[in-house]
């Protein structure tokens, strides 16, 4: 069966520190992968998506970047976090439908 793993579940990081959130998918090959952010009062915003290894599309300009080093691995990164990067980050993959990870709550202090 297909599953999606996302970690860590919670993270508190100081301003200016780097970030790396990881998402892996099992039970499927060549999935479309997505990173969403759920900021307070702002709903779900698509940040990045990937249709294949090394292929990244950015939806909004920001302090974050994404990479897909392997078919079923999707990483969200930042070199220097800002306070405004705080939020709930969701990874998802799609074939016929969407499946979401359990999310990472990031607090930048």
């Amino acid at each position: 069966s297909q599953t999606i793993h996302q970690w860590p579940a919670t993270l508190v990081q100081p301003v200016g520190s780097p970030l790396s959130l990881e998402c892996t998918v099992e039970g499927t090959s060549n999935p479309n992968l997505y990173w969403y952010r759920q900021a307070a009062g702002r709903g779900l915003q698509l940040l990045f998506y990937s249709v294949g290894i090394g292929q990244i599309s950015s939806e909004v300009p920001q302090n974050l970047s994404a990479s897909r080093p392997q078919d079923r691995q999707f990483i969200l990164s930042s070199k220097k976090l800002l306070l405004s990067d705080s939020g709930f980050y969701l990874c998802a993959w799609s074939s016929y439908g969407y499946t979401f990870g359990s999310g990472t709550r990031l607090t930048v202090v």
Binding site: Y36, L44, G97, F100, G101
Partner: protein, 110 residues
């Protein structure tokens, strides 16, 4: 451009009362629409999709192309329906991205 609008951030109704969560969309083409739900401490999950014309947990949603709406309805609310609800539209081109509305937090009062 694709857009999904949920005008109500918060909605509170009493148990047994009817519920309607509003969703309007903007899309140049034939839309594919969904409702997702996130219960407390659980993952975001699919509730229903318009192409299935199904009823899940007593909820239904009808696509009205004339009004560009996909409102979610339930005739008798239950306390376990309290959750965050998102309306979403799939962009059928390219990477099949999902565009979400802002979400509506539904609270069912006893």
């Amino acid at each position: 451009a694709q857009r999904v609008t949920q005008p109500e951030k918060l909605l509170s109704v009493f148990k047994g009362a009817p519920v309607e969560l509003k969703c309007n969309y903007s899309y140049s083409g034939s839309p594919e629409l969904f409702w997702y739900v996130q219960y407390s401490r659980q993952r975001l999950q699919l509730l229903l999709r318009h192409i299935s014309r199904e009823s899940i947990k007593g909820f239904t949603a009808d696509l009205n192309k004339g009004e560009t709406s996909f409102h979610l309805k339930k005739p008798f609310a239950q306390e376990e329906d309290s959750a965050m609800y998102y309306c979403a539209l799939k962009d059928r081109q390219g990477a099949q991205k999902l565009v979400f509305g802002q979400g509506t937090r539904l609270t069912i009062n006893p």
